[in-house]
């Protein structure tokens, strides 16, 4: 048997970008410093050399104006991938994302489509401070017409990027920059993960932890801690926030009868609340305990090394919540 090939998360996304741009001339990239510079996280490295300035396009620091270019180009036959350098800056394209891109297919009764991908790096870590560390994915999940994906592994990162580019509508793709160097097995060649499909990342019988993005790895670490206490934890990754694969999440909760939802974004009015409510609606009769939400602290992400780690859930905290839940203390 051959050794399975492993690549980094960053390289896996790049594989999808190279693959899709080779397959389809209408796939173009727009963003700040993505061309010859190769991206501030080296996340577009090599694309400029391969496809040139006409398809890997550096824009001025005008997110709003440049995103207008992407939407108009998408309406007229291109498949733009628009990069927002930091997830925090998505606020700068919000009007056109929410009021134009998300609604054009609906408003025009299908006369026009907006096949574009908004790609942005999120995540706490790196001491970048309150305006460069946020995970604002919950904002986009609120808007009908937008699909929202959040891959946690290199393979999912590759497969969901390919799916996002091939989708005929706007897809917002959140990648956690703290995962860029994560290395794991990734299928070679053409590989697509369907948007709207969750995956069980670890099977277990006592409790389901539904975790998103980087929190999947934190949840897996918590599951390892619990295994020492003979508590069996199932970890489910929705992978797509919109559309949400309710069937897979609910099937797991019906099996374990307990659910914890973990997300790295702010907790208030966030992804954890939506998923917890959904699980409670569909699996109420199977639940032995309340559904627990664990999110980022409702605090601007602080800069200092001693403060920053406090706002993000860690494995110990998730393990404590799981233990309390399983022991009937919640």
């Amino acid at each position: 048997m051959l050794n399975p090939r492993t690549v980094t998360y960053r390289a896996a996304v790049l594989e999808a970008l190279f693959g899709e741009m080779r397959l389809d001339d209408s796939v173009i990239m727009l963003g700040e410093d993505i061309g010859a510079a190769g991206g501030v996280f080296k996340q577009t490295e090599g694309l400029f050399a391969q496809f040139g300035a006409e398809r890997v396009i550096d824009t001025p620091i005008s997110e709003s104006g440049a995103f207008g270019i992407a939407v108009g180009a998408a309406m007229t036959g291109q498949r733009p991938i628009f990069e927002v350098m930091f997830g925090d800056f998505i606020t700068l394209i919000m009007d056109q994302l929410v009021n134009q891109a998300a609604k054009i297919a609906y408003m025009s009764a299908g006369q026009f489509r907006v096949p574009l991908v908004v790609r942005t790096a999120v995540g706490v870590g790196g001491n970048l401070g309150p305006q460069h560390s946020q995970s604002l994915h919950a904002w986009l999940t609120h808007i009908p017409g937008l699909k929202v994906v959040m891959p946690s592994t290199p393979a999912d990162a590759k497969g969901l990027m390919a799916a996002a580019i091939r989708d005929d509508g706007p897809v917002v793709y959140f990648e956690d920059r703290m995962l860029y160097n994560l290395r794991d097995t990734v299928p070679e060649g053409d590989y697509v993960v369907p948007i709207g499909s969750a995956e069980v990342k670890r099977t277990g019988r006592d409790v389901t932890v539904i975790a998103t993005g980087r929190m999947v790895h934190t949840a897996l670490a918590a599951a390892e801690l619990m295994a020492k206490d003979d508590i069996s934890v199932e970890v489910v990754d929705p992978r797509s926030l919109v559309p949400l694969d309710i069937d897979t999440l609910v099937a797991s909760v019906k099996k374990t009868s307990r659910a914890v939802v973990v997300d790295g974004g702010y907790r208030q009015y966030g992804v954890t609340g939506e998923i917890a409510a959904t699980v409670a609606e569909y699996a109420f009769d199977w639940l032995d305990a309340p559904v627990i939400r664990i999110g980022g602290a409702d605090v601007p992400i602080p800069f200092s090394k001693t403060l920053e780690p406090l706002v993000l859930p860690d494995a110990q905290r998730i393990a404590r919540e799981i233990a309390a839940l399983v022991r009937g203390q919640r």
């Binding site: 173009i28 006409e54 824009t59 001025p60 005008s62 709003s64 104006g65 440049a66 995103f67 207008g68 270019i69 992407a70 939407v71 108009g72 180009a73 998408a74 309406m75 007229t76 036959g77 291109q78 009007d95 056109q96 009021n99 134009q100 054009i104 297919a105 609906y106 408003m107 025009s108 009764a109 299908g110 006369q111 026009f112 489509r113 907006v114 096949p115 009908p144 017409g145 699909k147 989708d167 005929d168 509508g169």
Partner: protein
Amino acid sequence: MTSKAIDRRTGLSIFDRMLMMRHFEESVIQLYKQGRFVSHYHIYIGQEATGGTVLEALGEKDLICTTHRNHGHIIGRGCDPNKAMAEILGRETGFNGGRGGTLHISDASRGFLSTSAIVGGCAGLATGAAFGLKVKREPNVAVGFFGDGSLEEGLVIESFNIAALWKLPVVYVCENNSAGAMGPQQGGYPTAITATDSFTRLPAAYGIHCLKVDGTDIGAVHAAATEAIKRCRAGNGPVFIEAFTMRWPGSSPLWPELATVTDLNQAWDASLIVGPNADWVQHHDPLLRAARELVAAGHASRDELMARDKDARSRVAAAANFAIESPMPAPATVTNHVFA
């Protein structure tokens, strides 16, 4: 009088567009008053010489984005008035299947990409459409119509920079209708809401070729639009046209009140002009001005123009009937097209 500068065929084609635009909106106001639809809408009456003439100068494959004052541009482009009226009345047969209404009419078959109800949004989309054309190496242009208020939005200024930087084939048509408008801009141009003393200074700062025209003069608008489109097709980058218009005073209230339906005879018989908007009708109505100029230039007789007027009225009446008789969208379709 500059309409002599355009030939008979072009002049009459512009006039036909203007007639349809005018009577269509008169019908919209009447249908609203009859309670045929509920909404908030914006009236283009008084600006037809600008839109009708720019649209005359465009080719079949050129692309158009507009702003909330859109009825004139849709009808002037030659989009099916039946489907436009049906959309305004929220019918299944409308361009957008009743999902857009007056504020979002679009028509893919005529290259009419979008009506954006977000002020200035059309500038971003038109610039993006122009980028799409350039990527595909198609010799067509994109036009973005907007009012002077759009120049208060940051997106428009960002779009100017990118269009100039990348030499995109986009014509920005700024219909300056501030004169006579309500609100702080009362008193005309320059307005009280912008610090510049001339709107063309904004795009000009990015090296965009700028033209200022009397937007009620079809000859002047046609010359400017033709020059702008030619420059774009030649790859010389964007052009900004500022057209000074004097919109119909009756469009100022939130709910326009139509005192009288336009009577073309007023073009040559001032004694027929009465009522609260008499001054505007006599001195600023671009439709009557165009009629007078076409007759004076020997391009058409009064009777010929009256026959065209009658034809436009009957087409609009048919559109209104089509819309009224069309079914409302089926409830089961409400979720269609949320995702492409």
